[in-house]
């Protein structure tokens, strides 16, 4: 029971880190970046290549993966989304799906569809309390998500750039009138979100060590669900939504049915949205005059 809970929190922490990327980008650019899940996959491959092919140790290879994904996020935004800043949200959505397929197929070309065995990067002893064993991967995952959450909260509430980011997400025109460079702020948000995706990719592949070009797709969708569940646009909401979703998924797998677990996860989402359409911590935006 307790070990399920810890597994759930651990899986949920990965969802939460991914969901943060979705929710921040949504908050600032008002778009759903469906390619976000595939950035996770790229992050996984980067860590895989640098450790398995080039023999790098774990820490530099994670940093390398973060670096590549951050640049990738900025490039995606610049090439695919920025030209559509004034376009309808449907056009942006379809573009995002296109970018997602592009990344998956690029990965297919480079690494083929054969699953790669992800090397274990977290080689710490498992924690044993009484008769419960907690894997070191779970501990690192949970710790990483807590650190990220605290860092992001401090960033958005205390720093000049973080406050500017909130200002842009609320009112781009007014933010411009303050002298805030809106385009640069949006780029920065994509960079942060994609860097987080790289971390999520490494953590996800450490827990489920098979890596394929489609690896990021399902966690991406689930993390998107988590972001909506918690209230899209809300950073604590993404965190809460992610963790709850992970717990629900693991418990559904353990006690109800492995096959039905995804269906149950999405059913919970539907119920939450019926009861509270803005998500758990979502705020109703006041009508603009």
């Amino acid at each position: 029971m307790l070990s399920y809970l810890i597994n759930g929190i651990s899986l949920g922490s990965v969802y939460a880190i991914i969901a943060l990327g979705y929710t921040m980008v949504y908050g600032i650019a008002k778009m759903l970046n469906f390619a976000h899940g595939d950035v996770i996959m790229i992050g996984g491959y980067m860590a895989f290549c640098s450790t398995s092919y080039w023999g790098w140790p774990a820490v530099p290879s994670v940093l390398f993966s973060i670096f590549v994904c951050t640049i990738l996020g900025i490039i995606i935004e610049r090439l695919a989304y920025k030209p559509l800043r004034e376009a309808s949200s449907l056009a942006v959505l379809i573009t995002a799906i296109g970018v997602s397929y592009f990344l998956q197929n690029a990965a297919l070309l480079i690494w083929s569809s054969n699953p790669k065995a992800f090397p274990s990067m977290i080689n710490l002893p498992n924690l044993v309390i009484g008769d419960i064993q907690i894997s070191s991967v779970a501990i690192v995952t949970i710790a990483a998500s807590i650190i990220i959450m605290i860092a992001l909260t401090l960033f958005t509430s205390k720093t000049r750039l973080g406050k500017a980011m909130r200002a842009v997400s609320e009112d781009k025109g007014a933010a411009q009138l303050m002298g805030i460079n809106v385009n640069a702020t949006i780029s920065m948000t994509f960079a942060i979100g994609s860097g987080l995706a790289a971390i999520a990719g490494v953590l996800l592949c450490s827990a489920y060590p098979t890596l394929m070009p489609t690896t990021g797709a399902m966690p991406g969708i689930k993390a998107f669900t988590a972001a909506v569940f918690g209230g899209i646009g809300s950073i604590p909401g993404a965190m809460l939504g992610g963790i709850l979703l992970g717990i629900i998924e693991i418990f559904a797998k353990a006690y109800i049915s492995t096959q039905l677990s995804d269906a149950i996860v999405f059913a919970v989402l539907i119920i939450v949205l019926i009861v509270k359409p803005t998500g758990l911590l979502g705020k109703k935006m006041p009508e603009k005059v």
Partner: protein
């Protein structure tokens, strides 16, 4: 030379057809006119939010047409936009900090004190989420926020809109105070009576054109202006 001089400005959107006006250092100048006459469009174009089709906007002798809005702020122009547009989910203090965004680094404490002096209410509520302020307080916050960038010219778009008469009086009191301390203000108002009574000079806009200009007093006593905007 005028601090701000707008020459033969044309804008597609909102159809501004050749608007020219000037604001000198230390003056309060008002643009008045009916809804849709192009007052806000003029201000937004001057501030760089809209691109003009033709014409020039000179700020301190430099043509700023085509400069992105976020850079123009750094040149010393602040627009307090129509509808206030404060950041509802940020606190009062954070809103003011955003106003000082262009002034990278350095202390803003003395500026906060300056704003609190004009608007003591904001000091009482500096920790409050801005969206919970009353309409009048939000207007004060929007004006205070604009002052935080040390503007050489402050542009106010409909500061009295949607406010109760007593608050309108308060806002105009503050505009007078700002004028007395030597600030340069470009004021757009539908409340022509109030605007002309605080302004050194005014311009009357009609369907995208300047139709009359004069000192505040002259316009207050101008028959055409009285009939159209001051209720006879």
């Amino acid at each position: 030379m005028a601090l701000l001089s707008v020459n033969d400005l044309h804008v597609y959107y909102g159809s501004i057809q050749g608007v020219s006006f000037e604001v000198n250092e230390g003056e309060v100048v008002t643009l008045i006119g009916a809804n849709g006459a192009g007052k806000s469009t003029s201000l937004n174009t001057v501030a760089g939010l809209l691109k003009p089709k033709a014409g020039s906007v000179m700020l301190g002798g430099m043509d700023i047409v085509g400069t992105p809005a976020h850079k123009i702020v750094g040149y010393g122009m602040a627009l307090c936009p129509e509808g206030r547009r404060i950041f509802q989910q940020l606190t009062v203090r954070e809103n003011l900090e955003m106003g000082a965004y262009t002034r990278d680094g350095g202390s803003i404490d003395s500026d906060l004190e300056m704003v609190y002096e004009y608007f003591p209410r904001l000091k009482e509520r500096y920790k409050q989420i801005a969206g919970t302020l009353s309409g009048g307080e939000q207007q004060m916050l929007a004006m205070g926020r604009a002052l935080m960038s040390h503007p050489r010219i402050l542009m106010l778009d409909e500061p009295s809109m949607g406010l109760a008469p007593i608050l309108v009086d308060q806002i105009f009191e503050i505009i007078k105070k700002l004028h007395d301390t030597g600030r340069t203000i470009l004021l757009v108002e539908q409340n022509a009576q109030m605007a002309l009574s605080v302004a050194d000079r005014g311009y009357v806009l009609e369907t995208g054109r300047i139709v009359t200009t004069g000192t505040g007093k002259e316009l207050l006593h101008n028959d055409m202006v009285r009939k159209a905007y001051l209720g006879g």
